[in-house]
Homo-oligomer: 390 residues x 2
């Protein structure tokens, strides 16, 4: 895919900078997006409105020429890397090679991602290169707006996600209850066992295994607790799956909360309220609305029902203790924000809507859909049903 | 595990710096090592010889208190994050909260990893904090020397690795040959199919799925080409597996080269020569020897047989075109180097030995073991046989 970086061109022109410099492995999605190249170790991408150039190790040279979207691929050894490494060590040698590479490209000033590495930046500055970390996250903003092709990538990852969620729900539904804990085919049904089922299913659907959350009881009251151990009956089990397509590297993200056995009055109320909050948030999603508006719709529902939120009490550890959602793409958490400081939503934004309630005394309930903002509202990429009791 | 950071204490004392500051997600292994905490989004760890303090989002607060090795866990909201974010955006707000956090901790000067993020570093410097990216990679050097517990983690990952390699070899051995390509149970046996078998096996052994290389023919001539498509008979197939334990996050790494059918004279020579280079390298591994010595032993074998190496020709694209090995631990590629600029090997270093020969006309051959340097030599953690023809 050839990304549309015209906003970056404007950014560079406004600031009188020659180019945009990335120094990272392809695990950094901005690197992957700008370079069009997938490498496990850090390499350098220089983008200018005229062309894109890569500086890579000899090891990656052949593949970079074939696979990247660069107009030019240079090698570290072309800039005396070996001699410099022998004298100054590899970090300094690489930084100096980058300086020579920029000089070669006629580039004297660059914008960089906010998280560009400090050591290499200091070395470039010592050599007179202007290095400005860009504070407007222009590339992450560009990445937030997906092309139809990118939305298709997310849709495909979500298809795998729904298959994995189905596999997890089936395990819970088919489990027996013994002494208050779930038993499957004679063995205690653990969070680990359900995660394995999820991961095997994702793998068969061409997705890589990011972390998966299968959390029960107090574990589920901590939104980032991945969960472990035997699953219990009559308690909500949060299943949060966020796979990455191995082919396209795009993510999906979905959460459902299941309960085997009898739900308490409180858990039923929480579940219904959370589904109401989800619906309220979805109703608020349209171009021109802000992520803050959508987050506010969720906080309204919870606060009116008497639950604390981070809006009503920034230090609360119970109630609605995270933001409503986030962008999803090459990163599972990316722009735009769907939170107190969330900005304007635009067509092509892919976001999650994931209200939830948490209290160690009760457990946790979360329901998460993934949607794409359209010209006149949104399309929900999630088709998985919303039902508590399995 | 409580890491021994006394070398870091010395480093800080030598430079008159108050502490060591990390700003990264736990995907950054130095962050994971110093904080003892596993979080998917960036957070801040401040290490001083007196204590370790974390600065995290409210979302991670509960888990950080439970799971990290920090003496203190602070939250961004304690430093007016919300108000700052509303006015300056989240990046600047976080950076300012970190400045206030350091002030709180009585810290005015910090060393950081070389790849500490530039934007936050600039903000700290603007506020009078001394920020020095540490050029000696002291923490990565500390990480290079494994405790017995860490070696055990690598050993367990290697056990999973050998099971996966066995599964891959079995697929190749059981395949039939039709029109020069491999066929398994009626279907064309592709690199993708073999990778799936490897990944399913790793998963069942508690390992996560990093990339896997199953490369045949010209694909195999490019050391980082992951390989794709139908596998062919009479051509070497490089299988390079580097799993990460999902529990401990430590890696293993092993490569074997298999051939189904009849090996050409050249491929047989390459394989025998590469095994000879492997043996020569292993013979050179002992405390006090350098990574350069071990790499030199491999280059000697190849150059004496008339093959180019990056030592004899830094720009060659055929022959031995990578270094002999690398450290393995929380990162699959970490210190020490086993290359032209490799330094002294010490007991507890876990390294790979992976000579190989490459030429698009022939394909590629690589054999890789993983070993731990001991007081009197090395222990090979690899028990998988070295045989070409399956």
């Amino acid at each position: 895919m050839e990304p549309d970086l015209s906003l970056l061109d404007e950014y560079l022109a406004d600031r009188g900078l020659d180019g945009y410099l990335v120094n990272a492995a392809s695990t950094d999605s901005t690197q992957r997006y700008v370079s069009g190249f997938d490498a496990p170790d850090p390499f350098v991408t220089l983008y200018t409105p005229e062309r894109t150039s890569l500086l890579v190790s000899s090891l990656e040279y052949g593949r970079a020429k074939k696979e990247s979207r660069a107009d030019r691929v240079a090698r570290l050894v072309e800039y005396d890397y070996r001699e410099l490494a022998a004298e100054h060590g590899s970090a300094e040698a690489t930084a100096r090679a980058v300086a020579a590479f920029l000089d070669d490209e006629g580039v004297e000033s660059v914008a960089t991602p906010d998280r560009f590495p400090l050591g290499p930046a200091d070395t470039l500055r010592e050599r007179g290169v202007t290095v400005e970390p860009e504070t407007e996250d222009v590339v992450t903003e560009i990445r937030a707006t997906k092309t139809d092709e990118e939305v298709e990538h997310v849709r495909n990852a979500q298809d795998a996600n729904e298959a994995a969620m189905r596999a997890a729900e089936t395990l819970l539904a088919d489990a027996d209850v013994r002494d208050g804990t779930l038993v499957y085919e004679g063995d205690s049904l653990t969070a680990e066992r359900v995660k394995e089922e999820i991961e095997l299913t994702l793998l068969r659907h061409g997705c890589a295994l990011d972390e998966t959350i299968v959390a029960c009881g107090a574990d589920a009251a901590d939104p980032h607790n991945r969960g472990s151990g035997p699953l219990r009956a009559d308690e909500p089990v949060i299943v949060d799956i966020f796979p990455r397509s191995k082919e396209t590297k795009y993510h999906a993200d979905m959460t459902r909360t299941f309960l085997k056995g009898d739900a308490s009055e409180t858990v039923r109320e929480w579940f219904e309220l959370t589904d109401e909050a989800r619906t309220a948030a979805l109703d608020a999603v349209e171009p021109g609305a802000t992520g803050a508006d959508v987050h506010g719709a969720v906080c309204d529902v919870y606060e009116e029902a008497g639950h604390p939120t981070l809006r009503s009490d920034p230090t609360t550890e119970t109630g609605f203790i995270h933001s409503t959602g986030h962008g999803v793409g090459l990163d599972v958490h990316e722009r735009p924000r769907v939170s107190l400081d969330g900005g304007e939503l635009k067509p092509g934004h892919v976001i999650t809507i994931e209200p939830g309630l948490y209290d160690p005394e009760v457990g946790g309930v979360r329901i998460e859909d993934i949607v794409v903002v359209t010209e006149d509202g949104y399309e929900n990429l999630t088709s998985y049903p919303v039902e508590l009791v399995v």
